[in-house]
């Protein structure tokens, strides 16, 4: 059993002026994260990658599906159970500066952990705990304690937030674009820190739009396009032998230092804008190289979280049936011009009308979506 299982998670946002339209931001997403594993979740803006991070952290609830942590469905937990959940699962987000209250000193985030989770720990014991957490992220206590957020560099702020997570017995870190705001010279430090923590057994969901960062750090890669997994598996296989046209087109767009973007020779631009809309060159199904064998379907594979849970018969709750939930009032979200359906339909209908493509095992531990 994996540490964290994401089972058939879907999220439908209400959109439009009066919330009459429904937009599926995530469609039947399933994958898992093991201990000591870095899984990178790669997608363009609007692909739903941050939504998924929020669902795992229970900052928002899924419209259908479930997040299962160590065999238990996170969605059913009460407030006090959630407090225990956050002891083990923590998030760090893109803009470190906005994670701090500028009126208070930066180490208040550490003090708050103490007042909520360790009210009985003595000062001396706390101090040694603090020291070892800061050491783990290679921060010098004198540099960061008793300082205001603006006195710290972006890298220091981000590392302090990771240290905060380490104070708890964190087993899974949701890292949402944590280094995209940092300079090249400091981002490497944070990246290497994650590698270090991973070696000590921390599971990390590394959410990014930067393919080279994802490739550098992760063991497994999940490529998300418009709320749907199009390719996933072992990082070396996904990057070394990309099969889905979308993954390929992302890879050709990455700027390399020692290799120019290849042009098509005709003088015209080689690359058209691939936005969240529907670029025609991506519409077709994956070429014939992927055979659609029943046994190779991800949904039938023992690797699929749902099947793994079933075979263990551990009594874990299965995914909840999709259906309208009262929590769908989150407004805002995606853009106007991507309206999905006219009003009047229920969440279940919207999801049923937009099934996720089947993921097929192209080679061991390398799954590709077909027909999407």
């Amino acid at each position: 059993m994996s540490m964290l299982e994401v089972r058939e998670v879907s999220k439908v946002y209400k959109t439009g002026t009066f919330g009459g339209d429904l937009l599926p931001a995530l469609r039947h997403v399933s994958f898992d994260i093991d201990q000591g594993q870095v899984v990178s979740l790669i997608g363009q803006s609007g692909s739903g990658k941050s939504t998924l991070g929020k669902i795992i952290l229970r900052l928002t609830s899924p419209s259908a599906g479930a997040v299962v942590f160590e065999g238990k469905d996170v969605g059913t937990w009460s407030k006090s159970q959630l407090r225990d959940y956050y002891r083990h699962v923590q998030g760090v987000f893109q803009d470190p500066f906005s994670s701090y209250n500028p009126l208070y000193k930066a180490d208040r985030v550490l003090e708050m952990v103490r007042s909520v989770y360790f009210p009985d720990v003595r000062a001396r014991e706390w101090e040694s705990k603090l020291r070892s957490a800061l050491e783990a992220v290679s921060l010098n206590p004198a540099d960061v304690l008793n300082k205001f957020p603006h006195q710290l560099s972006g890298g220091q702020q981000q590392r302090l937030l990771i240290a905060r997570a380490l104070l708890l017995e964190v087993r899974l870190l949701i890292a949402d674009e944590i280094i995209s705001m940092l300079d090249a010279s400091t981002r490497v430090d944070v990246l290497n820190l994650l590698v270090d923590l991973k070696r000590k057994g921390l599971g990390v969901l590394f959410i990014t739009h930067d393919l080279s960062l994802g490739n550098y750090i992760s063991d497994r890669t999940v490529i998300l396009r418009k709320g749907v997994i199009v390719e996933m598996g072992d990082t070396r296989k996904v990057f070394g032998n990309a099969q889905h046209p979308y993954t390929k087109s992302l890879l050709t767009a990455v700027p390399h230092l020692h290799q120019k973007w290849q042009s098509n020779g005709s003088g015209a631009r080689a690359h058209s804008v691939v936005e969240g809309e529907r670029p025609t060159d991506l519409e077709g199904p994956v070429g014939g190289s992927v055979a659609l064998g029943e046994s190779r379907r991800y949904s039938k594979s023992p690797l699929h979280p749902q099947n793994a849970a079933a075979s263990e018969a551990s009594g874990a709750q299965g995914p909840r049936a999709g259906g309208a939930r009262p929590s769908l009032m989150e407004g805002g979200g995606p853009r106007w011009n991507r309206r999905f359906s006219p009003g009047g339909r229920t969440v279940a209908e919207v999801l049923a009308a937009a099934p996720a493509p089947e993921l097929v095992e192209y080679e061991p531990d390398h799954f590709v979506a077909v027909g999407y």
């Binding site: 090249a184 010279s185 490497v188 550098y216 990057f239």
Partner: protein, 367 residues
């Protein structure tokens, strides 16, 4: 000669006194050249770009001249600069995605801007529409409000509007930074296309991302803490850079195909000095693996090879003594014990990480 900047010094007025963000910068750009301007945040690259177009109230022009196409730009006089903006110099500002007026449709906004330059929208509308099609924007974009467009679309709309009057020099400040890879590539290719089609004569592309510059720039200028560190054509910077800072900056870039268990990347230990009271001498000294006694004096920014300028004593000395290629800052930084003060290179200095030698960009030979 398109642009010539001589000894430019620009400061910010603060409550504690002046902070010199651009400190004696000289360079020139040829017609048709795209120059990349790279460096860490706070190194003065955006200040340099902005000062060529618009001096904010808290900015102060201390010294130096800017000459564009033989004319001297009155950069310290905001009113006098009006006649040059959009016609001779134009800028795609940082965060261009939020630079558009949210209460105006794109077409109306372009018309307003043109009127402020004394140009009738009608005269130029046809060309405007042609260029909108050129950057793959839908035709009805002129009738849309900025919030109806995606980030990449807004970026492209800003590009078209700021180059409508065919300026001689375009400054693009972090044009590609907030975009994801495929949009980034498309915008990058559009920039070179604008140059090729003669919409702009020359361009300064400001970014912290050297790999983008390797794709689109002809030459790259690297700044550090308000001073110039190195300038050369793009290939030379990427493959045969001489300044230790440039080398470390390149070594800290992850590339697709590189993984942590193959070769760990190295960061640059420490932080740039405060510009409020910068140290004398080379400003990179504190973080440089080759720092020596001489570095307490300021290194001159001189041409060491044709078209290749470097400000580093070590490089000057080594080249003077006839050595071809000497510095390998990445290996030196790995070999050096972590700097005191806790700002060590994170995981790179961690015991678990194997002490692999990171070969410098371009795979230069060891001395």
């Amino acid at each position: 000669m398109s642009l010539r900047v001589e000894n430019l010094k620009v400061a910010y007025r603060t409550l504690r006194g002046d902070v010199t963000a651009v400190d004696g910068v000289s360079f020139s750009i040829q017609d048709g050249e795209i120059m990349g301007l790279a460096g860490e945040s706070g190194c003065g690259k955006s200040t340099l770009g902005n000062s060529l177009v618009y001096m904010e109230g808290r900015m102060k022009h201390l010294d130096g001249t800017v000459e564009l196409d033989g004319q001297r730009l009155p950069i310290s006089d905001n009113r006098a600069m009006d006649q040059y903006r959009m016609r001779q110099v134009s800028i795609i500002p940082q965060f261009a995605m939020s630079a558009l007026n949210p209460t105006r449709k794109i077409g109306r906004m372009a018309a307003d801007l043109l009127r402020s330059r004394g140009v009738a929208y009608k005269d130029i509308e046809e060309e405007f529409r042609r260029r909108i099609a050129l950057v793959d924007l839908p035709e009805d974009v002129t009738e849309r409000y900025p919030f109806e467009l995606s980030g990449g679309m807004r970026q492209r709309a800003t590009m078209v509007i700021s180059t409508l009057l065919d300026p001689s020099l375009l400054i693009g400040d972090e044009v590609t930074s907030a975009l994801d890879v495929s949009t980034q590539r498309a915008v990058g290719e559009m920039l070179t296309e604008f140059r090729d089609r003669g919409f702009v004569k020359s361009m300064i592309v400001i970014t912290h991302d050297l790999s983008i510059l390797a794709q689109i720039a002809d030459s790259i200028l690297v700044m550090y803490a308000g001073k110039l560190a190195e300038k050369a054509d793009a290939d030379t910077i990427v493959n045969k850079s001489l300044h230790p800072y440039t080398q470390l900056l390149l070594a800290s870039l992850p590339e697709v195909g590189l993984r942590y268990d193959d070769a760990p990347l190295v960061g640059i230990a420490g932080r740039p000095p405060s510009l409020f009271n910068p140290p004398a001498g080379c400003r990179f000294r504190e973080r440089c693996p080759f720092a020596m006694q001489q570095c307490t004096q300021e290194p001159p920014f001189v041409e060491v090879r044709p078209g290749h300028h470097v400000a580093c004593w070590k490089v000057h000395d080594d080249l003077a003594s006839g050595q071809e290629r000497v510095l390998d800052a990445a290996s030196a930084a790995l070999a050096r014990p972590p700097a005191a003060g806790g700002s060590a290179t994170g995981g790179a200095a961690a015991p678990a990480a194997p002490a692999t030698t990171v070969s410098p960009p371009g795979g230069a030979a060891q001395p």
